[in-house]
Amino acid sequence: MSDDGSWPPEWMRAALPLCVLAVVAAEETYGYAVAQRLHAAGLGTVKGGTLYPVLNRLEQEGLLRSAWREGAGGPGRKFYTVTEQGSAALAERTAAWHTFAERAGRLLPSLEAQR
């Protein structure tokens, strides 16, 4: 496990879309709040340059929808909500991810065997 919360970039590339979809599905939210939620979950710091293209792709796929709202004294924020299609995709991809992680995990040596 990474102590400083940084993970190999290829792992993050694979997991990020599903994790972002899960965060937005939990509640309507905006970009910076998604980054904070990912950080709090132990996935490390996700930069804006990585996060927003993922959000945009999910929106283009029809899994998210967005709307700009005025902020209190700020320049306004783009809020994301999950669509019906997004909820269905989240359920399907989550099941597939768990199966994948379980099979990959079975292939790897156990932590006890390494000690």
Partner: protein, 166 residues
């Protein structure tokens, strides 16, 4: 707006323009950067990387494909412009514009041309801030006049030549 953000915004718009990303998408992308930087207080270069690299992740050129809409606009522009030119030349030279009287050709040309210009202007790739609806890079007031003058110059010269020679 800080100098760093102002510079980044300018570079990002330029890089996205170079990739032929539509204006409404550019507005969204730039607004996302500004909103994120306002929330985090980060330097945009740290948060998003070099503007050119960030822009490279966005596909462009979606409006370059020609369809029925573009064909109709091109035909309407051509027919409208032709009728205006023929009508004007006919009025100045005193000759009818084919089967139509010159004034009718001129009126018909204006009736076709003006809505077409308005339609193209509305659909043009202006970069608008999705938060305010305002243009992100407002064009100076003299620019439309300069463009109109440049386009009208050959017509004015043609009318003048016909008027002088008749």
């Amino acid at each position: 707006m800080s100098t760093a953000l102002s510079t980044y915004r300018r570079d990002l718009i330029l890089a996205l323009r170079m990739r032929e990303v539509p204006g409404d998408r550019i507005g969204e992308i730039v607004a996302e950067v500004e909103s994120h930087v306002a929330d985090t207080g980060e330097d945009p270069l740290d948060a998003f990387g070099p503007a050119r690299d960030y822009a490279a992740g966005f596909a462009g050129g979606r409006r370059s494909r020609w369809g029925w809409h573009e064909l109709l606009v091109a035909v309407a522009s051509g027919v409208g412009g032709y009728l205006v030119a023929v009508g004007l030349l006919g009025l100045v030279g005193g000759t009818p514009a084919g089967p139509l009287p010159s004034w009718a050709a001129l009126l018909l040309g204006v009736a076709i041309g003006v809505p077409t210009i308005g339609h193209v202007r509305r659909r043009s790739s202006v970069i608008r801030d999705p938060r305010t609806g305002q243009e992100m890079l407002p064009v100076p007031r003299w620019v439309p006049w300069a463009v109109a003058g440049t386009l009208a110059a050959p017509l004015v010269v043609g009318v003048a030549v016909v008027a002088l020679s008749s």
